[in-house]
Amino acid sequence: MDLSAINPVLLIASLMVAATPLLLAAVGELVVERAGVLNLGVEGMMIVGAIGGFAVSVESGSPYLGLVAAMTAGAVLSLLFAFLTQFALANQVASGLALTLFGLGLSALMGQGYVGVKPPPMGTIHIPVLSDLPVVGPILFGHDPVLYIGIGLVAGVWAVLKYSRIGLVLRAVGENHEAAHALGYNVIRVRVLAIMFGGACAGLGGAYISLIRVPQWTEGMTAGIGWIALALVVFASWKPWRVLLGAYLFGGINVLQLNLQAAGIAIPVEYLAMSPYIITILVLVIMSADKSRAPASLGRIFHASQ
């Protein structure tokens, strides 16, 4: 065993990178679910965002344009789900699953010319003085911009849900859509916007994998992160800061266990490999012992005539 081989500064920096795609997708889905919609298509929207962002940044040479394209791609795909569930009144679970399958297939088709292509690099932010600080510099001030957007998004979603009128309306729609409708709020419009926001976040999360974390395009490269994001929202009791905690725990323990394996620590590898799942679930379940519960209208179909 050689724990000195692990550099804690690099470890923390890389766990933040590993957690970001999950965080982005989960915080988007949180908003969708708080509006009372269960979209199981996160994985599909992520992978379409991954290839959409990758293709545009390769063609344009600009990683930032790629990120915008990824958000657009995710949002456009989510519109399909919005149409099916909000206007055609289709079952949300089935539509979400279909969206994932469709997204996986569509991305494989779109990505055929991009296998083995190298995307333009996304630079890290460099703030004079701050980024050069020992320890704190690489951890807090040496990342790519998207990582900060992810944290900012959590803070933003939390503040909007808690303090703003928009947040109040969104929550009302998610808790009791008939009452919200009776009060004169347009339930469908609120939900469609929430679904699009969720799609854009998932698309950005996917592009983070294909443009920054790996960086390359490979079919099916999200490999289930969308599903983990869905589970995370539930375990985090639909609360933004807990989503952040859960994502960092999951990403962090994942990177930590790989580090411990490489350092040859004497814990059986099987336990290390399952530890991210178990610890994240444990922590969040213990925390959700308070009275938090799912939005009351989650997954229910709304029609103004009912």
């Binding site: 081989a5 692990i6 550099n7 690099l10 470890l11 890389s14 590993a18 795609p21 494989a108 990505g111 055929q112 296998v115 083995g116 292509v117 190298k118 994998i209 974390r213 790996v214 960086p215 390359q216 490979t218 079919e219 099916g220 490269m221 999200t222 490999a223 289930g224 992160i225 994942n254 990177v255 790989l258 580090n259 394996q261 490489a262 350092a263 040859g264 059986p268 590898v269 099987e270 490999a273």
Partner: protein, 360 residues
């Protein structure tokens, strides 16, 4: 009346269609990853396309990709068998028990399971001696490393992967006594983000050579981003990452085997057998060694490859001890394929010098 008429003609049409189809040999493939993974599944799919190219109208191939190892695999195989497949190739270790289970239910359908060891009357097993390629990798890696730390990304602790680790280590150690292996188990065949994380962790901990036994090209991208790190293509040539970081590769060539086996089904000569071919038979290829490797290392690597190909040298030749120091192979003795407790087919221990335990 009208309805019955329609139904009858529909049934007739289906019947006719089935008869028309019956001339065709239907071949099914079950893949563990997407065909665009750039590695393992990609090569199996090239084999499938070669079968189509060879037999043209006489065959029809179907495939299902990204099938999880476990109960879902049984559903996919059953579905293929019900839809009239004559022969089904199941191309990952974890499909072993599902293949045997489904094969029992469809005694007339031929099954071919890759990299496993359970045979039945209608189940053949086939695999390639990837460890021969690993020997060449170890030989190059041991001489190319400057930090003397070689990182190895394992998928699952199954004999195929453990053979590869042992073979690479033995041959790296031979040319560089100071070499150290750091092994990380990803517990997945295909998860680009996780594979990239594993590669980054190994690089952060000082590895300047990354060997992978997972299916995607993500570790290649991670090594490229890190700079002075070399890698080897896994299962596929991965030449898009040449000349650096990818300096060579192990290429699986399934096409001749698939063509032969499908041909055997067509002419009725198919019977259950066990195939385990290496460099000599062409099932394992060594991808071009790039110019990043000095000429003399390249020459000695090619000599090693040739000696493995013509059988004059076996990758597991004694004297070799097990990790705990107990003897495995005596001086000049070579490992047997199937006989004895320490046979290659079921290899489950590290050789002397490797650190860490093999997970259960």
């Amino acid at each position: 009346m009208q309805l019955t008429k329609i139904l009858t003609s529909a049934a007739l049409a289906i019947g006719l269609a089935t008869t028309a189809m019956a001339d065709k040999t239907k071949v099914g493939f079950v893949y563990v990853g997407p065909i665009g993974d750039g590695g393992w599944t990609h090569e199996h799919d090239k084999g499938r396309l070669a079968v189509e190219a060879k037999y043209g109208d006489k065959v029809e191939t179907v495939y299902v990709e990204s099938v999880p190892e476990g109960p879902d695999a049984e559903r996919v195989m059953t579905d293929m068998a019900l839809k009239g497949a004559d022969i089904i190739f199941t191309t990952s270790f974890g499909y072993m028990d599902p293949t045997i289970n489904v094969a029992k239910k469809f005694p007339k359908v031929k099954f071919e399971h890759a990299t496993g060891y359970k045979q039945a009357d209608n189940v053949s097993v086939y695999s390639a001696r990837f460890y021969e390629g690993r020997a060449v990798q170890g030989h190059i890696a041991g001489q190319m490393t400057k930090s003397n730390v070689i990182g190895y990304i394992g998928s699952y602790p199954i004999p195929e992967v453990i053979r590869g680790i042992n073979s690479a280590y033995i041959h790296a150690k031979k040319v560089n006594p100071d070499v150290q292996f750091k092994i990380v188990w990803a517990y997945t065949w295909f998860d680009p983000a996780k594979e990239a994380d594993a590669a980054k962790v190994l690089i952060e901990q000082g590895a300047d050579v990354i060997l992978q036994h997972t299916d995607s090209t993500a570790p290649q991208a991670a090594a490229q981003a890190a700079g002075n790190v070399i890698t080897f293509g896994q299962a596929s040539d991965m030449s898009e990452y040449a000349p650096m970081p990818r300096v060579s590769s192990i290429i699986d060539d399934w096409a001749p085997y698939y063509i032969a086996r499908v041909g055997a089904v067509m002419d009725g000569s198919w019977e259950s057998k066990s195939t385990w071919d290496g460099i000599g038979a062409g099932m394992v290829g060594i991808g071009e060694i790039s110019d990043a490797v000095p000429a003399e290392i390249k020459a000695s690597a090619m000599a090693l490859k040739d000696s493995l190909a013509d059988g004059s040298y076996h990758a597991f030749t004694g004297p070799l001890n097990k990790q705990d120091g107990s003897p495995w192979l005596a001086d000049g003795e070579t490992a047997s394929d199937y006989e004895g407790d320490n046979a290659l087919a079921g290899l489950n221990f590290y050789v002397e010098g490797l650190e860490g335990d093999v997970p259960n």
